[in-house]
Symmetry: C2
Subunit: 399 residues, 2 copies
């Protein structure tokens, strides 16, 4: 591929924003090998297609000979939530962090060439930083600048507490760029502020500030929220081919093209053709099947993808779930099985609902449910409810 | 003095606010000897009657057997102004700090019994504090709390920059109270926020929070602004008896009683009588002379005070400065001598003004001025302009 095409591929596909594009283009054109930074929270979890968006962009840089650095935020991880209120941000032990890092790298290895990455931990330089140096970092910022950040701005308006520690996180993340001499930092669009903080701190240290490239946040299976483990609306990189295929088939139609761009390596030219097909009335189900094949191929290879598709189709036919299944939306406040069956209107009466459940004729996501009062886990964003052999209802839980 | 009277004297005279009064009263009543903290900026300058207000309160505590701790903010002093913009807050060297501390203690010795004070420097514990501990301190605060501080609130409204470092100062000052196990912290009313921060940080460290006692800010000779060296509206503790007397005589009448309460040891009963005298029509000049005597006596002894008064009167009569001297107010934008003479209307024409200045017939604050274009220093709040032997004008510079 010509250098010009490489540059276009790097800077145009699946990119949300570049800061400063002119600088970055110049560096790439000069043939300079860049130090490309990605900061990672070592709190550990399954990586999803959401994480994959930025990792694929990293891989592209790697493919063109740039040096990729995974920076684990071990320092912040060991601190946890300073208010002690949040259960989700307990301080982690060294062992937990090491384990999470290993898991992350294993999963990232499905995308990156891990033999060539550099792995660093910010605890190595932040742990012993003195108060004096913290003050020097803080001195580069005004309170007004911090408050300008979208997230803080919003919380001020909503009168939601912002812990003072949260104003210090950008300093750490920014200093990390100084420590590793980053030329370019990648991140999701929600990280823009922190990435820019890096520029500011590098300038204050007399260094040439890093460029910044942000990628879009991928929506989850529900088509609305950011894909995330905690919302249950995700496809994990380590999902089985079957799950990966099936979950992809469940995304709403309006996300098909976005998933092609952000979650596959199908060339943009090709994606344009698919877009035309859809406009011309092609059944979205067929296009989605292509998408699912592409995604499964990336993580499990083409032949496995083919098998997954066949299996999916067979299961689908056997079960007879119709493609244009009925769909209802409910508030996600811990519904019981009985409640769901009644609301789905797949039965004639409440007593019929009870009887069918007790007879074992009701399934949720292919699992038989027999307890009337059993509750669907609140993190579920969507389920498929089946009553008897032929009646299906897709239930979406809104917030 | 009975314990009850001691307590009243400590908590009622020249006190702006006490937090929490009930707690503090109880501690005092129990006979406990308190560790009383006063934080001092070691940027060094002449102490004034403004500083003396809190030092006198400290002395009272000392007189009743409490332990007084002078805490020098050496850590902050060595950092200076993080933005590098302010010329007034350059980082200080160890030598400068040591010199400023010695000067401070020497001057404070005119009020405190320095043989019994404890002197500490916060650099001793803040210098080696790690980032991790800084974050723990920050974790006790929300951004909203910080913004609530009067000073910050005002600057936000005025769209004036607040450096992020300024949000960290209260953490340092607060942690100092932990380090020295303060029972009580004194300060001017402008320090209330920082003193309260100390309570919060002590609580977070599982300690009983200090009580807080703030004293009023004394107005300077101009009767409006806080007394301060930089505004030139001050009486220094090391001023000569003559200067001290003369400057006191120059305060506006409405400050007489306030100066009695905050700058002398005249009993409150006696001050009430003086107040009645004034209401009954006594010439404020006479009452001011009493005030000046009291102040000079405190720092130089009674007999010196008497001499100073005689000298002042003699000088006054000789110079014939009338008590009801004309007074004008000008904007303090670097007026030239010529300009001032013309504006004072003490001359008939511009050419007369020129001639008189060149002849050496014009004095500003008793100093001859002969250069037409010489400018009065902008920090001056007030001058006395004299033309010839008998014509005087008091010129006040407003902002």
């Amino acid at each position: 591929m010509s250098l010009q095409n490489q540059i276009a591929e790097l800077l145009d596909r699946g990119v949300s924003e570049i800061h400063i594009r002119k600088d970055l283009e110049e560096k790439l054109r000069s043939g300079k090998k860049l130090r490309v930074k990605l900061g990672i929270d070592p709190s550990g979890s399954d990586l999803t297609l959401g994480h994959a968006v930025v990792l694929r962009k990293m891989r592209q840089f790697q493919d063109y000979g740039h040096h990729v650095i995974l920076l684990f935020g071990t320092f912040t991880g060991k601190i946890g939530d300073p208010t002690g209120k949040s259960q989700t941000r307990k301080p982690m032990t060294d062992e937990e962090i090491a384990k999470n890092m290993a898991t992350y790298i294993e999963q990232a290895g499905t995308i990156l060439d891990v033999s060539k990455i550099e792995v660093v931990k910010n605890g190595d330089w932040l742990k012993d930083m003195t108060f004096e140096n913290v003050l020097r970092l803080a001195g580069s910022f005004t309170v007004q600048q911090m408050l300008h950040r979208d997230m803080f701005c919003e919380r001020m308006k909503k009168v939601q507490e912002i812990n003072l520690v949260e104003f210090l996180y950008p300093l750490m993340q920014g200093y990390d760029s100084v420590a590793i001499k980053a030329d370019l930092e990648l991140g999701g669009t929600d990280q823009t502020f922190n990435l820019l903080a890096g520029r500011q701190i590098m300038k204050a240290h007399g260094m040439e500030p890093q460029n910044i490239l942000t990628v879009p946040i991928l929506e989850g299976l529900d088509g609305k929220e950011k894909m995330s483990k905690s919302l249950g609306n995700y496809i994990a990189l380590l999902d089985s081919p079957r799950d990966m295929f099936g979950k992809t088939m469940s995304i709403p139609d309006h996300l098909i093209l976005r998933y092609f761009v952000l979650a596959t390596t199908v060339p943009l030219e090709e994606i344009k053709k698919i877009s035309t097909l859809l406009k011309d009335g092609e059944n979205p189900r067929n296009v989605k099947a292509r998408l699912a094949r592409e995604i499964v191929s990336l993580y499990h290879g083409e032949s496995v993808a083919k098998t997954a598709e066949e299996e999916f189709n067979r299961m689908f036919q056997e079960k007879g779930k119709p493609d244009d299944m009925m769909k209802i939306t409910l508030k996600n406040a811990g519904h019981t099985v009985l409640d769901l069956v009644i609301k789905s209107k797949l039965v004639e009466s409440n007593s019929e609902a009870r009887r069918l459940i007790q007879q074992g004729a009701v399934r949720i996501d292919d699992e038989k449910v027999e307890k009337l009062e059993e509750k669907v886990p609140v993190q579920k964003k969507m389920i498929i409810l089946q009553v008897g052999k032929r009646k299906f209802c897709r239930i979406v839980f809104s917030k």
